[in-house]
Symmetry: C2
Subunit: 207 residues, 2 copies
DNA sequence: ACTTCCCCTATTGTATACATTTATCCAAAG
DNA sequence: CTTTGGATAAATGTATACAATAGGGGAAGT
């Protein structure tokens, strides 16, 4: 419900209300809220009441900077451990991204799914449970993914090209190269987000 | 119980058994297990049974590498945001560490407490909720802290000196310096752990 | 003797009732 | 009119009962 935008920043998340809305009891709701709190999607006050977390631009900037570090590290490890089968999967994945963004109208949902798959494959190849656990907290941020619908064609194409660079680095098992490309890739994604976000704010202003 | 060594790697964590042992019902036990699972102290099988997580040397190495990155970043941010009051607190803290390790017998518990306080203050000054959340997963690893009881005097003294270097970097608001010192500090801590760990294994071998 | 299938037990998931704590609102006093 | 106090209502914490599911052990057949 948070990811789909049904709930927005600051909304109260009473356990009983959610339980009724979902047709279950409070017990599984409590479990879910704890999990979402760990993922920073839900904020809890000192008196243990839950609300949909608010993400300022500074927060998003923070998250991207951390992602740049951690996914860079993941790319380095992945490059050192890359095998042929996985490399082929990644290539197929990026090919699918190319198809999705090359139509007259970019297929954003497919782009997002395949993009997620691409990064997930790299993370898996990095084979560090701790790293996966940490990045899990950062990557599923709704405020970020939703703005992709406002990306420019250039942003999509640049993203695809950077993925290709990553593939070259993986092919040569060049860890530092992969790390540098990935860090740049994430930082560029932040600016793409930032631009798209400004665009959305301007639209709302006009309306 | 995991931290104190009362439970060891692989032990089963039945909810009912823990509830009886702790004198509470299963409900708060379940909450605690979920939290500990997020902190990687507890592992759950695909059928949702809980066990005390096992940490190999590779796992610990991973954790330290991630800590070096993230605490380095925290130190950089802290240096940029450091104020006089916090700096004084940090100095007092490191002074207390000095006292604890300078006796004929090093007071390891005080060292650990103050060390934790030192790093917690820096993390707080970095003022990034996301960063705090991520590092929270990595810092409370029992396998790491327990080996401190086997550190050499040199290891303690080096740690104290590196804290002093950090304080200098903070005083000058030199982010990159602080980051470099902290990264080195954590990496050295890993080798101190590694040495102490080998020592413990040798002891066990002899017995 | 080994394997396979089934039943029983143990463990976790869920619902609900109750206890405890926190917030809100209204009234009374300064 | 503002503030403070308490009473009331609402939300979370905890306990317990029941349901569903996974695991283990025993019996039977090969």
């Amino acid at each position: 419900m948070i990811l789909s935008g049904e709930l927005s920043s600051g909304d109260a998340l009473g356990e009983e209300a959610l339980a009724e809305k979902c047709g279950v009891s409070r017990t599984p709701i409590r479990d879910a809220l704890r999990r979402l709190e760990a993922e920073l999607l839900v904020r809890r006050t000192e008196s243990q009441r839950s609300f949909v977390a608010h993400w300022s631009l500074d927060d998003v900037s923070d998250a991207f900077e951390l992602r740049a570090m951690l996914e860079g590290y993941a790319a380095k490890r992945a490059a050192e451990r890359m095998d042929d089968a996985t490399l082929q999967q990644l290539k197929a994945c990026n090919k699918a991204i190319w198809v999705a963004i090359k139509g007259t109208e970019a297929d954003v949902d497919t782009f997002l799914d395949r993009n997620r798959e691409f990064h997930a494959l790299i993370l898996e190849t990095a084979s560090s449970r701790r790293l996966s656990s940490l990045l899990g907290v950062l990557i599923e941020q709704p405020v970020i993914w939703r703005t992709a619908h406002h990306y420019s064609r250039e942003a999509f194409e640049q993203s695809h090209k950077e993925h290709d660079d990553l593939l070259s680095a993986f092919e040569r098992h060049d860890g530092p190269w992969a790390e540098a490309v990935m860090a740049g890739h994430i930082r560029r994604a932040f600016h793409a987000y930032s631009d798209a976000h400004r665009g959305m704010l301007a639209e709302r202003e006009a309306a």
